[in-house]
């Protein structure tokens, strides 16, 4: 039997999703090299030019320009950088906080479980977008603030799902056996439980990336996201709203970018879940 990670690489779903994610990640990492223009450079002489496939296009700007004459393609590419930084950092943060609390809660049970469980319950009773908006008002705008707001809102997602998985694994006799052999609690969690919960953790991480991208877009759209000097897809949508009838592509293109990226991460998460979930893998045979 191949390891779960090698097995997941044989799944077409995972391969397609991984290709899409790598495509966005490449743009994000090498935005400066890939983008034809400076994303903030204004060409007031050629504003609202349509993309290449429409009449009256300027071959200089492949996907046209916005109302300030900025190159849409370059802005999309730099927007990908913002989106990926936020998605990766916020998901990592949420995963670290959520999974530590989940392991403590599920492994020790009792009072710790009760306190963490109630905390999650209360936390989750706030609508997540509203909570992040309130946090952004309190924290102020900026890339780091967006990340912090998403971490503070979304750690509960990891905590709740992982906790039940940790509880299932903890009930296995091999965890008790490890304790009997003299493993400390810390060793038991790290060497016996985490390897079993890791597949779920990876899956949740991928899904959380998608959620973080959407949340970042929403925050940028209402002007409570990254600062004005940074490019974000949500901001592009907000900017394009006024000229939606003259140049609909300015609105559609960032939306398509969001859809493409979110779909990629959802597909990856789903593919990983299918490939890593032992129960589903067995049922497939």
């Amino acid at each position: 039997m191949a390891g779960p990670l090698t097995r997941s690489l044989h799944s077409p779903r995972v391969l397609v999703a991984l290709g899409m994610v790598l495509c966005v990640a490449f743009c994000a990492a090498f935005a400066g090299l890939v983008a034809p223009h400076d994303p903030s450079e204004q060409n007031l002489l050629s504003i609202l030019t349509p993309p290449l496939w429409d009449a009256g296009a300027d071959p200089h700007f492949l996907l046209g320009t916005d109302s300030l004459g900025r190159d849409v393609l370059s802005r999309l590419i730099f927007g990908a950088r913002t989106a990926m930084i936020v998605a990766f950092a916020a998901s990592t943060g949420a995963m670290v906080i959520g999974s530590i609390l989940a392991h403590v809660s599920g492994y020790f049970g009792g009072v710790a479980d009760w306190i963490i469980g109630r905390l999650v319950d209360i936390w989750m009773s706030f609508p997540p977008v509203i909570l992040s908006l309130i946090l952004m008002v309190g924290l102020g705008v900026g890339l780091d603030r967006v990340i912090l707001a998403i971490v503070l809102v979304d750690w509960t997602r990891f905590c709740r799902v992982l906790r039940s998985e940790v509880m299932v694994v903890t009930r296995h006799d091999y965890v008790a056996a490890a304790r009997l052999l003299g493993f400390t609690h810390w060793q038991t969690i790290l060497r016996e439980i985490v390897p079993a919960t890791a597949p779920l953790l990876i899956t949740l991480f991928s899904l959380e990336m998608a959620i973080a991208i959407v949340v970042e877009a929403i925050l940028s759209f209402v002007g409570l996201g990254v600062g004005p000097d940074q490019v974000a897809w949500g901001q592009m949508i907000a900017d394009a709203r006024q000229n939606v009838y003259q140049s609909p592509w300015d609105l559609l293109l960032p939306i398509l970018a969001i859809v493409f990226t979110v779909a990629a991460f959802n597909l990856l998460g789903d593919g990983l879940r299918r490939a890593l979930d032992v129960r589903l893998a067995e049922a497939g045979h």
Partner: protein
């Protein structure tokens, strides 16, 4: 005329592109009012018969030859809707796991009513009366109250009685009972068997009784078919097959089973295990030949023909005449004399759980263990017996420190393990170890065997080098009788018996003074059980350790342990030398336990 006639029934499975025969030419005649027993260890294919009748074979499995004539109609070629009309009416089933066979969200009454209306019984009142009559006939007390209850409010034995009642409610011509007692407490086995026998007599039903327990089958059945690796190796009248087995496999099984009444003797150990489906495919000749003490060259080449040894007693072996000569040469494992000193002394040990604690109501406590007092001497094997829920496992968990006692003392070599200073596991871990009941759950599926058996070497501040661990794992594998190449495998690639050996090896990594073994042979086949029991006796002689052996099987206890503690509802109600306790039980519960263990034929 026969109720069911199987003629050369053959079931095959597709395994990775090749076709493997799972059941090979099985034939039998089942007369009305008779019980036939299909006996075999796991992997013998016995469950396939019941599934073939209901046509619910696992994916990839199919009946490839032969017929199953039910009252003249062939169930194999019958149209699905005609067969469906027979199932549940003329052919009824008693399942293996009664708790999961009932719908948990419906009352017993609602489920019985549904079943009866499907059978065509009209009128709510009539159905209710019929249900009450059937439940009362099944020996269930207060059937009126029972109708309003949900399955989780009943014990496993009661659920099985309900299912037996509903199986016989349609006056079926054939009932298939697939391991109906396996999931139940040992004390209820006999009662369930008696109930099936009584219902069967009353309704003049033919029954196919599928089991792994030859003795249980011999008690209930008229005829027995012993299956080995998908092939019927011996068939005949139950008494004859049990008392004078003609096939070497049946004889070996008989000798591998510890006896409850006869002189204690060593258990016969068959080497290896039953061939898997894959191995069967490449084998030629008799499939038992690799394990058979009588096998000659001829056996490995040609499949033995079925020969008749007595009226109706047929055996598929060319050397059947020599079968009675198979015997155990070694003498019974010696029991150590009364130990000079105790390893473990338990004084007034108790465990209480708080239940129903809320904000406003007072906590009430349930005592899982009450005032347990006993001791275990050096090198002594002491058994702890009792039905499930009697507190056996709680005692075990308190001894190893997985549960904290509510009161009482656990003195190990004179140190009280309940003292806070000694709660630190690592000091005790070296000397007290536990072997878990379910080897599947007890082995981390992500660790290799070498890493599992030497896991203690990475605990706490120990950081053994990998080559040291590798070396130790080789020694341990040798001690528990496994080949060295197991070290690199994962637990998923092992059979149940092999996993249990790994489980034992892990507990031996740092030689323990006391082992706690929680039902370690229950759920294993008789031949594997014999291997493990002999292994434990040998390890005691070689390494020297004491053991608390928790079990519900008194014959196993009698074979292995010199002293026994009987637990009932959290209390140790009787303790003493095994022969004395089983020979002259004083407490009513001990008497019930001893009576429930089937007498050796």
């Amino acid at each position: 005329m026969s109720v069911l006639q199987a003629r050369d029934l053959t079931i095959s499975a597709r395994l990775g592109g090749t076709v493997v025969t799972v059941i090979r030419s099985l034939s039998f005649d089942l007369e009305p009012g008779k019980i036939i027993g299909l006996v075999g260890e796991s992997g013998a294919g016995k469950t396939m018969i019941g599934r073939a009748i209901a046509q619910v074979l696992p994916p990839g499995f199919a009946i490839t030859a032969g017929s199953l004539l039910f009252g003249g109609d062939d169930l194999v070629t019958m149209a699905p809707d005609r067969r469906r009309a027979l199932l549940g009416r003329a052919i009824a089933f008693i399942p293996q796991a009664p708790m999961t066979a009932l719908n948990p969200v419906k009352t017993i009454g609602a489920q019985f009513d549904e079943h009866l209306s499907r059978l065509g019984q009209r009128g709510r009142q009539q159905r209710r009366e019929r249900a009450l009559a059937m439940l009362a006939a099944s020996g269930l007390p207060r059937p009126e109250g029972l109708l309003a209850q949900y399955p989780h409010q009943l014990s496993g034995g009661m659920c099985q009685r309900v299912l037996i009642a509903s199986a016989f409610a349609s006056n079926p011509r054939l009932v298939i009972a697939d391991e109906p007692t396996t999931a139940l407490d040992a004390t209820t086995h006999r009662q369930i068997l008696r109930l099936i026998a009584a219902m069967q007599r009353e309704h003049a039903t033919a029954v196919i009784f599928i089991t792994h327990d030859l003795r249980l089958a011999a008690d209930l059945c008229d005829d027995i078919i012993v299956l080995y690796a998908g092939r019927p190796v011996e068939s005949g009248p139950a008494r004859a097959v049990l008392s004078a087995p003609a096939h070497p496999y049946a004889r070996c099984l008989q000798l591998a089973n510890p006896s409850m009444s006869a002189q204690r003797r060593a258990l016969y150990v068959m080497p290896d295990q039953m061939p898997s489906l894959r191995q069967m495919q490449t084998m030629s000749g008799c499939s038992f030949a690799p394990r058979c003490p009588l096998a000659v060259e001829e056996c490995r080449r040609n499949e033995p023909p079925a020969v008749s040894v007595a009226a109706g007693h047929v055996v598929a072996c060319s050397r059947a005449a020599a079968t009675p000569s198979i015997d155990v040469r070694e003498s019974a494992p010696s029991m150590p004399d009364e130990a000079a000193r105790n390893v473990l002394q338990v004084v007034n040990l108790a465990k209480r759980y708080g239940v129903g604690r809320g904000l406003f109501n007072e906590a009430t406590t349930v005592a899982a263990v009450k005032d347990a007092t006993f001791d275990i001497g050096e090198n002594e094997f002491v058994a702890l017996v009792g039905e499930s829920g009697s507190g056996k496992s709680t005692v075990a968990k308190m001894l190893v420190g997985l549960e904290r006692p509510s009161s009482g003392k656990i003195l190990f070599n004179g140190d009280d393990l309940t003292e806070p200073a000694l709660r630190n596991r690592s000091r005790v871990a070296a000397s007290v170890q536990m072997i878990f009941q379910d080897p599947r759950s007890a082995l981390n599926p992500r660790r290799r065997i070498a890493s599992i058996v030497t896991q203690v070497m990475e605990a706490g501040h120990r950081h053994a080098r990998w080559d040291e661990r590798q070396k130790r794992s080789q020694q341990l594998l040798g001690e528990v009788g496994l080949a060295a190449d197991f070290a690199a495998r994962l637990p998923d690639h092992l059979s149940g018996g092999q996993r249990q050996r790994i489980n034992i090896a892990r507990a031996l990594c740092i030689p323990p003074r006391l082992l706690i073994a929680d039902e370690i042979v229950s759920g294993l086949d008789v031949s594997i059980q014999a291997q493990l029991l002999n292994l434990l006796a040998r390890l005691r002689a070689e390494l020297g350790f004491a053991m608390l052996f928790i079990s519900h099987d008194l014959s196993v206890v009698r074979h292995l342990c010199s002293r026994v503690l009987v637990m009932y509802r959290g209390e140790i109600v009787e303790q003493g030398r095994t022969e004395t306790v089983f020979g002259d039980p004083h407490h009513p519960h001990t008497r019930a336990l001893v009576a429930a263990t089937s007498p050796q034929a």
